[in-house]
């Protein structure tokens, strides 16, 4: 209800203005007057009125009297003549007044007994000269002459309807009426000006386009009324006859267009009544056509067209009702305003056609109607603005509500997000620290594993060497004991032999006894056995020293320093260490290249490499079902040249079960193993790879399932 409060002062002001207007109109009794159209005469058709001389017209006897109090001579290019017979006795000194300011060209000739005694110009085209005209209407003084017959001849020409509300009155009366009219129109102009300025001010402060349209509308409507009632000079067009002639048309087009624009926007016709909107757009074209016609001088057609277009106002009523029905409340003011204006127009037209009397109310119907219209429309505009404001406020409130809702949602989500971020961060930190712990554990586990792999290979080495050494030690030790016994036997024979004395008479018997002992002890066999045992001891000693030598080479394992070594020696020492392990697993065929250069390497670690690969090769054949003679590990070394580089190439080939591509791609991965749990760490080959890459060596693995595997290792020289 805030909106209506702001309307009230305006309503009150407008009402006061309107009531003042009514009061003024009621007090002026001026228009309780008589028009004397029936005293006027015209020349019927058939004369070439244009070319007639005044004298000829004056003496014509063809005059025909009008039968209307306010005759209408129509409009057009043609010149019309009209005669008023005056009573020289009673009417001299009075004024003839034609209450129509719209006649373009008008000349009044005073003819006394057929003689022209005076002529007065009048109408739009002739600026009223002082003393001849009071107010805005053309008026002509009846001369003070003595005549038998006194006539006033009017030659007229206009592009607007020549309606002739003519009266004869005393100059004082005419002057008073003119003044009263001036006052009324001044009031009218004042009202319009106030509304205009007020809305202009509103436009400038609010910036709503409707206000500007309304300002133009007020200007057009007010201007039209002023021009129609002879106040054109206030627009300063006196010196511009061309413009002066067309001023009514221009204002007509202007008010028509501004009305349509205002109505279209005010009623939001494009939204509520699209068909009417389109129709009114059509009227724009018609108005522009009328404007064009006016500009090229077809003023009569232009006037008719403008009048025709003005009927568009009748469409406003249904349009407004439809808009109102659609819930657009400002339309009700609009309906009121236009109803009033249309009534005024109807009254005005009815007055002109003589249906209703010509009095102050009917005379001022148009300006009054337009003034009321403007005031009511102003209210309508205020209501519309309020409506808009309300809509805007509602929209803003809705927007605010939505944005507050959004903000709340965002805030809630923010909180949730922050919580999540905090949780996640904590979880991450947790994970991070636990991962750090895991990393440390892993690193130490890795070290342990590498160490245990190393220990395992040392263990393998120890077991192998223990077994390798046990056999020779066993038979060397045992042989030594047996040899002692054999030598005891021999000694027995030798002692016997020493004791022989040919001079002794029992010599022959002693020899026979010795021979018997010889045979009993099977000395022949003993001798042969001694040979065998000695051979065994030699062989055992040789093998033991070989093992010790291999061990010495192999025992460089701990020395990770780079030194030069003969690759064949390394391979052989590895094989010695592995011999007992391999004995029941595979047959090793060795093909060592001759004259290989020394290789800068870590011998101990390379032994680990070879041991690992050879052991794998032997183990890979266990499941093949091959006889032990067919389980062959081929080991070769050679000098190779490729891509301008010399290499020592070591190949270790088996006839084992081979590997699939999937297995092959993983063999160097740590912890990858095909052995069952507990049998292998899965680290062997990954350590091999590490050692070989320390040697810049290249490793190639050729394998086929069911056929076997070959490791090709190339050491750059």
């Amino acid at each position: 209800m805030k909106e209506s409060a702001s309307v009230h002062p305006c309503v009150a002001r407008c009402c006061r203005t309107a009531s003042l207007l009514f009061f003024l109109i009621s007090t002026f009794s001026v228009h309780a007057q008589k028009f004397i159209g029936t005293r006027l005469e015209y020349l019927p058709e058939g004369y070439n009125l244009e070319l007639l001389e005044v004298e000829t017209v004056a003496t014509s006897d063809q005059w025909v009297a009008f039968d209307q109090l306010v005759p209408n001579l129509g409009m057009g290019e043609g010149v019309e003549w009209m005669r008023l017979t005056l009573d020289p006795m009673t009417e001299n000194g009075k004024l003839i007044e034609i209450q129509n300011a719209g006649i373009d060209d008008l000349t009044c000739f005073m003819v006394c007994d057929g003689k022209i005694i005076a002529s007065y110009p009048g109408g739009v085209m002739n600026a009223p000269s002082e003393g001849h005209q009071f107010g805005t209407y053309p008026s002509f003084p009846v001369p003070l002459v003595e005549c038998n017959k006194l006539h006033a001849l009017f030659r007229m020409h206009s592009n607007k309807p020549m309606i002739i509300p003519l009266r004869i009155s005393g100059p004082r009366k005419v002057l008073e009426d003119a003044h009263q009219r001036d006052v009324l129109f001044a009031l009218y102009a004042g009202v319009m000006l106030v509304m205009l300025l007020y809305n202009l001010f509103l436009f400038m402060s609010i910036g709503d386009r409707s206000y500007l349209e309304y300002v133009l509308f007020i200007f057009a409507i007010g201007g039209t009324q002023l021009v129609l009632n002879g106040y054109a000079p206030i627009f300063g067009v006196d010196g511009w006859p061309w413009l002066n002639l067309r001023l009514t048309h221009l204002f007509g087009v202007f008010s028509g267009i501004t009305t349509i624009v205002f109505v279209q926007n005010f009623l939001r016709l494009s939204r509520y009544v699209p068909w009417l909107n389109k129709l009114l757009n059509g009227y724009f074209i018609l108005y522009l056509l009328a404007l064009g016609l006016a500009l090229i001088g077809r003023l009569e057609w232009s006037y008719q067209l403008i009048n025709f277009c003005a009927a568009a106002i009748f469409f406003f009523i249904p349009g407004t009702i439809i808009t109102m029905r659609k819930g657009y409340s400002p339309a009700k003011y609009f309906l009121l305003a236009f109803t009033v204006f249309i009534l005024a127009v109807v009254v005005f037209v009815l007055k002109d056609t003589g249906v209703i009397p010509y009095n102050a109310w009917t005379f001022y119907a148009l300006p009054m109607g337009s003034a009321i219209e403007v005031v009511v429309l102003s209210l309508a505009l205020a209501s519309r603005i309020n409506q808009l404001k309300r809509e805007t406020v509602n929209a803003r409130e809705e927007q605010l509500r939505v944005s507050q809702l959004n903000e709340q949602m965002v805030r809630e989500q923010n909180t949730v997000l922050e919580e999540r971020v905090a949780k996640r961060t904590a979880a991450l930190e947790n994970a991070n620290s636990s991962m750090k712990g895991t990393l440390v554990d892993l690193q130490s586990a890795q070290q342990q594993l590498v160490q245990s792999e190393k220990l395992a290979s040392i263990g393998q080495l120890t077991a192998g060497i223990a077994h390798e050494l046990n056999n020779p030690i066993n038979f060397v030790a045992s042989s030594a004991q047996s040899l002692r016994r054999d030598f005891e036997d021999l000694n027995q024979v030798i002692d016997g032999f020493k004791a022989l004395d040919p001079s002794d008479p029992g010599f022959l018997a002693a020899v026979a006894e010795l021979k018997e002992t010889f045979g009993k002890l099977d000395i022949d066999f003993t001798q042969k056995e001694i040979e065998e045992l000695l051979h065994g001891i030699e062989d055992g000693t040789k093998r033991t020293s070989e093992i010790v030598k291999g061990l010495r080479i192999f025992s460089r394992m701990d020395g990770d320093n780079f030194t030069t070594a003969q690759i064949n020696e390394l391979l052989e020492s590895t094989l010695i260490v592995l011999r007992s392990n391999l004995k029941d697993q595979a047959v090793v065929e060795v093909n060592m290249g001759e004259g290989l250069p020394l290789l800068s390497c870590q011998p101990g670690r390379l032994n680990q490499v070879f041991m690992n690969i050879i052991t794998n090769a032997a183990q890979s054949m266990e499941a093949t079902g091959l006889a032990i003679e067919e389980r062959i590990v081929e080991i070769s070394s050679s000098l190779a040249e490729s891509i301008g580089q010399s290499w020592i190439e070591v190949r270790i080939k088996d006839r084992g079960i081979g590997m699939s591509e999937a297995v092959k791609s993983q063999i160097f991965d740590p912890f990858f193993t095909t052995k069952s749990v507990g049998e292998g760490t899965g680290l062997g080959l990954s350590i091999v790879m590490g050692i070989l890459s320390d040697h810049n060596a290249e490793v190639e693995v050729e394998t086929e399932e069911g056929i076997g595997t070959e490791f090709i290792i190339r050491f750059p020289l």
Partner: protein, 178 residues
């Protein structure tokens, strides 16, 4: 003299063994398991000693192989170094009497072979007593079947016949208690 068979892929071990024990035992040595089987078939071997680690088959495998045909000789396993798996297998599968580590102690080994031989003969005696018992049980079973037959005809027996049956029963009891 005790008949001993020694199987080892290492020729020098065989030579040393024979040289060490030929004065005490009747020593048979070979590097080939097939040859060992042949010897078992032809000689009354009491004690078998086999090396565990051999190229074609292990000592335990060899014992498993010969057990069905030659269950009686006492088996002893000789090995280079302690291999717990080999020991477990030797006891469970090869049913060996002793486990000997290289290098062997000659006197200990000799003692072991003697003990093994004694064990062999005890087994032999036990099993021969068992055979006698088996024989007696077969006789008793035959007698019982005879009694059954006689009992079937007992419906019309006189006193004289009954007394003979009693005598037979006493005879059977005597036999069974033996």
């Amino acid at each position: 003299m005790i008949n001993v068979l020694y199987l080892d892929d290492e020729l020098h071990n065989l030579t040393a063994f024979r040289a060490a024990f030929r004065r005490d035992f009747h020593v048979h040595v070979t590097t080939e398991p097939t040859e060992a089987v042949r010897i078992l078939r032809e000689q009354p071997i009491e004690v078998i000693i086999s090396d565990q680690k051999m190229p074609t088959l292990s000592g335990v495998e060899f014992f498993e192989l010969i057990m069905p045909d030659f269950p009686d000789p006492i088996r002893m396993l000789l090995t280079g170094h302690a291999d717990i798996d080999a020991v477990i297998d030797a006891i469970n599968k090869g049913q060996i009497y002793k486990y000997i580590a290289k290098p062997w102690n000659e006197s200990e080994l000799k003692e072991m072979v003697n003990e093994a031989s004694m064990l062999f003969h005890e087994h032999k005696a036990v099993s021969s007593r068992g055979e006698v018992l088996l024989h007696k049980m077969q006789e008793a079973r035959a007698m019982a079947m005879r009694i059954q037959r006689i009992t079937d005809q007992a419906s019309n027996l006189n006193a004289e016949e009954t007394s003979e049956i009693n005598r037979n029963a006493i005879e059977i009891n005597r036999l069974l208690t033996e």
